[in-house]
Subunit: 379 residues, 4 copies
């Protein structure tokens, strides 16, 4: 398969997630990064592009969308890795220009932007992918499969948490932490702090694996750090369609936790546990039997997990590999789309606009519920 | 110290917790079990007493309380290990007879019984101990001390869970599981199922370590097994005095979980994690430093933990040892009380009537909140 | 079953293992400790006995053996918990007096003493038990059963290690560490330091589980602490009958290790792992399948493990419980012996003189091999 | 930095390690793979190159070396990813053509080949890198630094093991396992089976972290599978310069082990543990203090570890990232070399010919020792 010509919006020097997208796009060799609007500052955009050996540098995404769409060798896809409030603008511009979009999460900063983007996806022939990257881990895929094939029986419980500690102190006021600055700023992040940044990942993962939709939720949000405008902790009760219940906890103020995303799902026939910091292992208990340790490419790994694995069991694959699985899924989707073929499974498994809208409704529901003293709200 | 003459109510053949109390009472050699009303059936009471080498067998606790109080060599203390609805009766009888009481949790089956027992404790000169045994683990004691001495700073979060799987199926209808039968029977257990049986432990542990009181809670209770009269799962949001927040999850229907009591506490200066199934280890993270693994009698164990340890680090002490720490604390308290001396620390650390009442209010609040769709309730 | 009247030699104030034996003897209620020669100092012997509520205090084991044998209510069994060089003397005295002996390991300080003791066991009608306590853990029993029933196929590898750090510094010269003093003193410990103290445990455990005998070994012993007379680390290659191979590592100078006894056994059909610091769990991998986590009283626990368990899965049992399993096995053996019945399984599983002699040969072989530059030696 | 033009020898369809090298070369964007002699079969070489979008396909490495050296845009470096017996030939050819070499381990199949290669490295101006990739993990780098800076004091013990199970059965005779075929074939692998394939990694890692050289070793090698020509298990005693001792165990027949490379180092002031299957964590115990959990990019990570990290702590980096760190180190070295500058630290940390020769001597010494009944041998 020929590499896809890729552009990038955002991700200039000092950014975190842009670099992650570049790693992910390079790993399997399915993309060539040839154009970028890496920064709103023309100078920085140029310098960043040079440092990254990116051929064509733009200082605005609008200019880039038009110019690239006009070139015979223009980009086929674009990665959008800006802060949340600059997702909808470029995504719509590129979709409208017929260029496929790979967008970081959450979908947008506001529900209005999200709806506009949803409309753009609907009217565009181009594809839209959203990097809820944790769904890319092989053992997450197998967890989903276990649920789907009934190994857990009828689901009763979904417990998910995403716990960090990097906002324990008011680092957004330290002057040297750009990440903290925009992620705690409602104007750039939207209405959700931790719920938007990591709660949406947890929510998405729970839905991806369980296959269940949340009917109602009750949320208690806090900003434990004085003066912080957005929540840095959220406690959420979940009620799923069909009677399953759950809890979601996300926090950025829990010392000792780096990136503690953990999912536990229980049904009347079994249970499973998966933790992101130990991603190559999946714990599965058929009720009344010994717990099994399922490992990536180990004896009990399934074809679904195998399909997104690169190297043998015991050779850990990590965050970037999981992220790259979405990029590769998107690449396969793009090539199929260009060939007029149906999207292959690996492309269909990449979250898209639907997952993005669900995340936005989740954030809005959490904020709404919390303002009304944790009232039950439909997301 | 001479062994204390001990009696027991309940705990005949086939019982679980009675045997635990006997192990705990024997381990440190502070008790001689010399009298028992082990069963309501006179025949079974006699046979059980003989099998256990218990000198004096009674078929009713009332008879036992009176007879023992009248003997010069009568029991000094009694262990009450009956189902919940037979806690208040014997406890009051022995307290009124001036005999010290060591009672299993939860305090009683109903709030009314609890209040009657509370009154009995107040009017009696005898001591009352409640076996929230998880507070007896050395590393739990050190966790409490870490909070107390400010190592975690101002507390923000208390996450506690107690997860089992033994009621995943309707085993109470199998005909051969007495434990399941009475623990799922409102007449014998009270209004709470999992919240009463294990939720009270989790609630107690969280309060013991954090030193915080819950101001309000919102609970979502479920009986996932068809036809089960009491909850087998509870999701609870907690709001503590002073602004800390928390979550409590207890479940008896989560396959793969045997006795998963786990506590995590986070403040603005640090965090800690302790799990009952790995009880000799305590994880402590001073914010901004590497996580420390504190082990029982290891290099970083404190005097408080040392005081309830028996053997060197690396030689695991378990559930019975933790339980025995309460029995030993009670023994020291009883001897001090008999000598007219103030209760030593180890006795004061044993939960008593106050913890018992708090547990009863917790159960009532959970049930009340859940009936009102998880409304906020003051426990 | 009526409690067995027990005596104790050694174990006065400040001792470690004597206290462990007392805990173990009390836990299941099968013993009454009624006589003791707790110290060679008459004064200390008396004070220690009083503090422990032991009725009859002796200042010499010879006196005790004769006096107790002469009493109608004399002790039925004696626990010997002295330093190694005072094992043979009392063990022989009590065996010759017809009193059952429960002796701490290693068997004796010297091979000559061991042979004399072996002869005494042979000529006595009384029973002899050796507290290689790690064999008492339920999951160790199940590990042995897995091997025995062929679940691992033909054995190929036995890897065992026992690693501590308490002798990293020359604490035996600190003046306040009696344990370190005698355990590093050839006159009291015998020819082996770490190999005698903990290497024998590791060696015994490997043999207990694998059922294999070592044919030859090559050992490299070191005393890393300057001036230490006995080894504090040993590296040993093992060759088993039938072609299996193994490694044994014991160390008391490995910082970060408290009591790290760990056994791994592999055959052509499967493998198992057990670690003493996490004793309620056994990892079993049928080759080509997912690893199973077998837990004490969990879904996959066997009857053999169940027979030495007291409380439900997830309620950790520890070192003292495992130790107590030997005491209870011995008690059942003694009562059967007194009744003229064959020893029950639980008694037969307690290590005896044969295991003791094997341990002594192991120590001698290690020392011999190491002196000859790790030559192959038959133990 | 402009990408380096890279060629590859070996690594056609069905190969394992060639794919790993390609991932590693792509991840950081420092290489463009533009030429390849991917297979000895011209047809397969061509097809593989096309499938991988490699511009120039050759069917012999000699032809490739000459042709590329003659082109102005010829490759600057070559990756050699063939079976062991085809390392020396291409490595010498490219070195003699002035092209930098990145070679898989072990160095060669025979000591004679190794010496010839060593001579080629000495006479060439080009650089030679050997992919002992485990040295590329950030926490391994920090472990080395801890030793180097004295945090462990004077070293006493180095315990290393590398345990797998994939050769438990005679899979090399199944007809569909190319990896197993050549790795168990002396003609292609050399004199060592497990010692060559994974023992060399373990040996290298131990030396990399400890900074110590082995003075003598005694090895007991086995081929547990009937008819296997090379060892599948090795037990090795190590004696280091300066008095430290160690053990090395490598096995490919231990069911339940996927890729269990684990290193433990102990000195008189502390100890450390690192395990490849959990690579983002390093356990460090300063003697007499609590064990610290040092995580990649966590609070206690050092600059040395940070320099080879890509993403924040808690976002697992794995095997490919560690491998890529060697590729990036090599790239920095190559660019510095081209600029006439001294090699930067990251390049100097990549193992080279010296490590390769040490590995070859290790294999030869193991085989020699084992043939002489585990006699002590100087590697």
């Amino acid at each position: 398969m020929k590499p896809i010509r890729l552009g990038m919006v955002g991700g200039g020097q000092g950014a975190f997630i842009g670099e992650v997208h570049r790693f992910a796009s390079r790993l399997d060799g399915h993309y060539d990064l040839v154009a970028g609007a890496l920064s709103a500052s023309p100078e920085k955009a140029k310098v960043s592009a040079e440092a990254l050996n990116i051929a064509r540098a733009y200082s605005s995404y609008d200019e880039m969308a038009q110019a690239e769409a006009a070139r015979p060798d223009g980009i086929e896809a674009v990665a959008i890795v800006t802060p949340n409030h600059v997702h909808a603008g470029p995504a719509i511009a590129f979709l409208d220009a017929g260029i496929h979009v790979i967008c970081d999460k959450p979908l947008t900063a506001t529900l209005d932007e999200a709806k506009a983007l949803e409309a753009a996806v609907e009217r565009s022939k181009a594809l839209f992918f959203l990097t809820h990257n944790y769904t890319g881990y092989p053992m997450v895929r197998q967890a989903r499969e276990l649920v789907e094939t009934g190994a857990l029986g009828k689901l009763r419980l979904v417990q998910v948490e995403y716990v960090q500690d990097w906002l324990t102190d008011p680092v957004e006021r330290s002057g040297d932490n750009k990440q903290a600055e925009w992620r705690t700023d409602p104007a750039r992040s939207g209405a959700g702090g931790s719920v938007g940044d990591i709660g949406t990942h947890a929510y998405n993962l729970a839905g991806f694996v369980s296959g269940l939709n949340v009917e109602r939720l009750a949320a208690d949000l806090d900003a434990f750090v004085d003066g912080r405008a957005l929540d840095d902790n959220a406690h959420v009760l979940l009620r799923y369609e069909g009677g399953a219940k759950g809890m979601l906890w996300c926090s950025q103020v829990a010392p000792g936790n780096e990136n503690g995303l953990k999912l536990r799902v229980f049904g009347d026939k079994g249970g499973l546990v998966w933790a992101q910091e130990d991603p190559n292992r999946l714990w599965f208990t058929p009720h009344g039997e010994a717990t099994r340790l399922i490992t990536r490419r180990g004896a009990a790994a399934s074809a679904v997990a195998d399909a997104v694995s690169r190297i043998p069991g015991g050779h850990p694959e990590g965050y970037l590999e999981g992220f790259a699985n979405l990029y590769t899924g998107a690449a396969l989707g793009i090539r199929a789309h260009q060939a007029g073929e149906p999207l292959p499974d690996l492309a269909q498994l990449v979250p898209g606009i639907e997952a993005g809208m669900a995340g936005m409704r989740f954030v809005a529901a959490c904020v709404d519920s919390s303002r009304r003293d944790a009232a039950w709200v439909t997301p």
